[in-house]
């Protein structure tokens, strides 16, 4: 990922949510991924337009993490989502 923008969600990925978790399914592979709320939030912010700074600022406001901490978490999560093919650079 770049410093300026988050990647885009893979439009083929399907999402199913309950009150407490989200499950993403890749129809092409049949793989299923369970995301915690913050990972889901990062995935939802991956629209190809939202910047890392914007995402960190918004999530820091909604959680008890500092923008620095949440930035690291976002980077790590995006790397994982990219590795799993759930977002595209």
């Amino acid at each position: 990922m770049t410093d300026t923008s988050l990647p885009r969600r893979d439009p083929d990925i399907r999402i199913h949510t309950s009150d407490v978790e989200a499950v993403l399914t890749n129809p092409a592979t049949g793989s299923v991924y369970r995301l915690n709320p913050t990972a889901l939030a990062v995935w939802e912010l991956c629209d190809g337009q939202t910047t890392l700074e914007e995402a960190a600022s918004a999530l820091a406001e909604l959680t008890d993490q500092s923008p620095q901490e949440i930035t690291q978490d976002i980077r790590r999560t995006v790397d994982e989502l990219t590795e799993l093919g759930l977002v595209r650079e």
Binding site: T17, N36, A39, L40, A41, L45, L62, D64
Partner: protein
């Protein structure tokens, strides 16, 4: 990643010591009374229209209702204690707004009593309470609002000094007569200025103007 998310923590605290003030819309009196009965005897519930000018000695304020106006009116009062709002289920617009104007918790007003009391304890500790699954939607809206705020802040620079004066008078809730009196201009001139200010800023209502001014002033001390 670690969630770092503070919603719905469940650490116990002696709730008997917590003084909870509940302000409720009509129809929520039984819920308000039930909540109060579980906390310190000094806890009390009040209808929305009760006159409350201060929340002295209250540990947590609980606001129960369906209308955004209810939440705005209560949260705009001075010196509110940590506040939990019980509002419409999964309404992310309301949820985001109440968090932005000062609430540190939001739950569906149909939540079980145990969830509400646990959340009151969390709020008393200063821990945010929000439905975890809504975090992404809230974050997206927060990003959008911040972008809009930045766009309007840029546009504010395009106002003339007189228009800026009009902007702040209108932001105080003044109508064209009040603005005219404050700035020693005619009401019709005031009306024209307000029209031009709103057009320049891309605003559609006085309410939007007041909200915007509040947000910007809150952020910068002055624009």
């Amino acid at each position: 990643m670690s969630t770092g998310y503070r919603g719905m923590t469940d650490t116990k605290r002696d709730e008997a010591e917590l003084v909870v003030k509940v302000i409720y819309e009509e129809g929520y009196e039984p819920l308000a009374a039930a909540v109060c009965s579980l906390f310190d005897p000094r806890s009390a519930s009040l209808r929305l229209d009760a006159k409350v000018t201060a929340f002295v000695g209250d540990d947590v304020l609980l606001v129960v209702g369906d209308s955004p106006d209810t939440f705005r009116s209560v949260l705009s009062r001075a010196n509110t204690p940590p506040t939990l709002v019980l509002g419409p289920t999964n309404d992310t617009n309301i949820m985001l707004e109440v968090v932005e104007i000062g609430a540190i918790g939001y739950l569906s007003n149909g939540s079980p009593l145990e969830t509400i009391t646990n959340s009151i304890r969390s709020v008393a500790r200063g821990t945010a309470v929000l439905p975890p699954i809504m975090l992404g939607a809230l974050a997206r809206q927060s990003v959008e609002r911040e972008r809009r705020r930045q766009r309007v802040k840029e546009k504010l620079k395009d106002l003339t000094p007189r228009q800026r004066e009009v902007f702040f008078e209108a932001a105080k809730g003044q109508d064209k007569h009040g603005i005219a009196e404050a700035l020693c201009i005619s009401p019709e001139t005031a009306r024209t200025h307000v029209h031009n200010v709103m057009a320049t800023l891309g605003l559609h209502s006085r309410h939007e103007l007041i909200s915007l001014a509040y947000e910007l002033r809150y952020e910068e001390g002055d624009v």
